[in-house]
Symmetry: C2
Subunit: 195 residues, 2 copies
Amino acid sequence: MNSKLSKRTKLLDQGVYLLMNQGYHATGINEIVNAVQVPKGSFYSYFGSKEEFAAESINHYIEPFIQLLTRHLQHSQADPLTALKNYYAELIVAVEKNGYKGGCLLGNLMGEIGDTSELCNQALKSAVERYKALQYKALLQAQKQGTVRNDRSAEIMANLLVNNWQGALLRMKIEQSVQPLHEFCDTLLNDYFVA
Amino acid sequence: MNSKLSKRTKLLDQGVYLLMNQGYHATGINEIVNAVQVPKGSFYSYFGSKEEFAAESINHYIEPFIQLLTRHLQHSQADPLTALKNYYAELIVAVEKNGYKGGCLLGNLMGEIGDTSELCNQALKSAVERYKALQYKALLQAQKQGTVRNDRSAEIMANLLVNNWQGALLRMKIEQSVQPLHEFCDTLLNDYFVA
DNA sequence: ACAAAATATACGACCGGTCGTTTATTTTGT
DNA sequence: ACAAAATAAACGACCGGTCGTATATTTTGT
């Protein structure tokens, strides 16, 4: 039966949702297991601790984003820069539907426990690195195509993308507006990066 | 006697320190009052609640930064752009001494409780706005002097500064390195902004 | 001026509740 | 019947916040 594995996945899904919207310390195991109708005792058969669970949630969270971005980059007939624009446009629409809630699990947990939980620190570093590497490759490819400027390294621009997006999400969160996210696109993807 | 007021200030000092390094939900009232040798009961004569205390801590936190930046902008004989560079260079040195710990209280609390605590949301918005306005004015002035490019609005560049700095601090936190902060200076202040 | 009464402040034990985790029991599969 | 997995109950610790009391200060009466 897949109910065991699916319960594990449900826990992670709910964990991602709650951890993103409430943070690590404000989210209790009870809240998670109650939401997905799993006995509290079972939680500790799936995960060794709350900290391990959070680290796994981080990986569980980033996967869909990596796949979505990969899809945009591969299955699109557009150049990589346009693919990046489309990807971020899709993200903004999604976040807008969500009522500007939560932001990014990676950013939130980086700020809250990024330097206090070794396990989560590792998971965060790995997730950010994978996510960044994907955008780095896209920028590098776009540079070769001539759609992105060549006089700045793709590495630096990838960092700009990642860091600015995180900052823009924080601004969105307190201002309850997607305006910072649109400005992010206009300033970087539609201006600074263009060849 | 100023012992009453100084105790209040000590509580806020300690609050800033603990809230920045551990976050809101991981920091208890007991931890704060024990650290500054103030009875727990007294805490609630100074502050109405933990939430109010955090909101006051936010204002208490940002003030020195605003004053330091103002000093750099006013008492410096350098142009505003150079003043900004000097200011951020000083910040980086300070953060390096601290062992990359904590990051920025504003950024951390924006991520953790920026959309769940109304009181803190207000305090965060106000603090960020004041801080941003200062840099906006500096950029505007630098534009008039011709040291900063005129074909991009100072508003957008100020947002870039604020947002990118927050993102860079998150990266610093998980990578335990000031490299993202230096890259921030090189990319924006020493490149994108220059006329 | 001074003792007594009234008021304000300081304080820590304590509240109900929740935390993350462990353990003992029940249920399940064979 | 029995080992293994699932689960409910219980654990001590700690949470934010309160409240009765002890101490200090001020006001009053003479």
